[in-house]
Chain length 394, copies 2
């Protein structure tokens, strides 16, 4: 798929490893309306700090992204390096420096390999092509086992609008070093405040609804660039059908990418949705779902394919959400194995264990105490997770 006005390139710059795509570029012929959402951690990588500042203008024309080095905890030198990569790229592209956004992912505490950048920015720009999107999706991978992309076309404001999204996540969401990045480009014509609002609400329902290990990255970011070449009626009011369609499509794209990230979770063998219903409020349901989804004991039981609902109810108990234990139902897929707080016995557990052998299933917890309902997506916790993370740097 191609979106008019956008081009892409990736090269193997040897930033950390040789012969591996590790430097990518997203370029818009004209300044594109751009919104971003960034990691909430206090320890933000240099590129995150730069982008947060530059996005105040709501526009950008290029995103330069590298894997292999996070450029986090690198002090003044790291900041100067990041600024220099942006300056050199702007020269190559013939655009203003502050129209360049920067993104990095990889090991924390190491400085950028500047010779690799200096010698590869020219070939990178020369390689720009409308169909280079997949190559960039590969260049941002770290411990990812597959590139993650999504493509959509939708009628919005009287025109067919295209969307292309990519993400990387080494299986850690809320991750700390292999970190999560996502970029979406679209030819929609939309003003900044609407784009920003659609992105924030979409991230809330997608990347903020997944977890792999509860850690938070120094480098997380999601960027959306909209260049307006679809020539649709301007989306500049949230109270319009066009905005609503745009927001829904963007949310679906972000959800799709987010689930791809969980499915490729480090060491993950399955993807599990924890749904909490019947809570007094949505917020309560979310806190409880998140506590269950992050419990190592629950996640190792999923890996062991053990229908160990005791670990689920124990995690619920420490979530801080008040509930009546004697009216809790728990189902794995369509098998209810706990009714009113009591297990329904070994035969039902054996049925539930069959669900656990599937690659993708839902655990539904019903508190029967209200209408609050939320879902969090997680993966299991395997021996390979420990292997990957005990070995990551070596």
């Amino acid at each position: 798929m191609i979106i008019k006005g956008f081009s892409f390139a990736a090269v193997a710059a040897g930033i950390k490893y040789p012969d591996r795509l590790d430097l990518g570029l997203i370029f818009s012929d004209e300044p594109a309306v751009t919104a971003g959402v960034f990691t909430t951690t206090q320890v933000k990588a240099a590129p995150v700090l730069i982008d947060m500042e530059r996005l105040r203008q709501g526009r950008s024309q290029a995103v330069l992204v590298n894997s292999g080095c996070a450029n986090a905890c690198t002090g003044r030198e790291g900041m100067n390096n990041a600024l220099e990569t942006g300056r050199l790229l702007a020269e190559q592209l013939g655009i203003e420096q502050d129209m360049v956004l920067l993104s990095s992912t990889g090991v924390i505490g190491a400085q950028l390999n500047m010779p690799a950048f200096r010698s590869n920015l020219k070939p990178l720009v020369e390689a720009l092509s409308p169909d280079g999107f997949e190559a960039v999706a590969r260049a941002i991978m770290t411990t990812d086992t597959v590139p993650k992309t999504v493509f959509r076309r939708e009628m919005i404001g009287g025109r067919e609008v295209g969307f292309m999204g990519m993400a990387k996540g080494s299986g850690m969401i809320m991750p700390n070093m292999a970190t999560m990045l996502a970029f979406v480009v679209t030819d929609a014509r939309i003003s900044y405040s609407e784009l920003s609002r659609a992105l924030k609400s979409g991230v809330q329902e997608s990347f903020n609804r997944i977890t792999v290990d509860g850690d938070t990255s120094t480098n997380d970011m999601v960027l959306v660039l909209a260049n307006g070449t679809a020539d649709n009626d301007w989306i500049d009011d949230t109270a319009t059908p066009a905005y609503e369609t745009f927001q829904n499509v963007l949310e679906e794209i972000l959800k799709d990418l987010a689930l791809q990230v969980v499915q490729d979770g480090e060491g993950a063998t399955k993807c599990i949705t924890i749904r909490v219903c019947g809570a007094k409020e949505n917020g309560h349901a979310e806190i409880m779902a998140r506590t269950v989804a992050n419990s190592n004991l629950v996640k190792t039981a999923f890996f062991g394919e053990d229908a160990n609902w005791g670990r689920i109810i124990a995690a619920m108990g420490r979530s801080g959400v008040r509930f009546n234990q004697d009216q809790v139902d728990i189902a794995f897929g369509d098998v209810v194995l706990v009714r009113n707080g009591l297990g329904l016995g070994p035969e039902v557990e054996a049925e539930a264990a069959k669900i656990l052998r599937e690659k993708r299933f839902t655990v539904c917890i019903d508190l029967k105490d209200g209408n609050g309902c939320e879902e969090i997506h997680t993966c299991d916790f395997s021996i390979d997770y420990v292997k990957i993370n005990a070995d990551y740097r070596s």
Copy 2:
């Protein structure tokens, strides 16, 4: 070691497995002043609920404890079963029912094996002996690899006072199913309010300072029984040297047991103290130390013996505690590998990696922003942790 007036027994009752000590009894000839601290989770096991009620009287004479079954999430039947075991034991001992405390550890959601209790309470009582303490410490083990005990004698209030403590913890602190129990008996003569205060402050500095996997049990409890047979001057005022000595000794005993639990952490290969200094307040230091100590990425790096300080600073960044990244120092043992937020390079990291090969070391984080300082003790996160917890019930 023997403490006058206390006797102990353990038998292999076959509660879950045959030929394994799984039922223990602590008995005091006379009612002993008794204080307890219990799990803060909402989902409390039946024995926890019973003990919390019974301890309002501040006295007890017997503690009946079993492994193999947590008697949690077992509804009215579980509560009735627990009460019946207490009633039957009281008959055998010839004491009041409400002088019996109950404690269970094991799988959540299963009902107590009542025939095993009914047929074994008489032999259990008959086996009571002043030197049966170690046998009870064995009977409470689940995935523990060693029994955990501590013995002390100390001059308090003009007499030599004895202390014997035991704990079990399957390597999970804040655990959910293999759960943490600790019992201390002493012949100190102390009134309830002083005993209770000393226990609460001691637990705060010991069991509340360790973590294995961040999960919280349905069955956690720490009980202290003081029968007064040492005939020391009554400890009934916290503003006395006798109270101070008592509190210090109790705290040391609880710390000793707590560290034994971390060292025997499920799959643990090393025990690590995370010390945060230079925080604005102690509370800030504790929150940050706890976040680092619970990070799966930090703990897998410890297992991999990788001096990956980036994961530590990333965990600090998401802790919610405000700090100035540019003045952070991090040391492994006596090797400072981060100064003012920047890594000191591969040679220093290689030195730090040597510290990681030790069984026991401290990671010191200095924020240089005040006098707040706290420690949390944790263990590494190994492949065996996943194996143990993926297989626990099968």
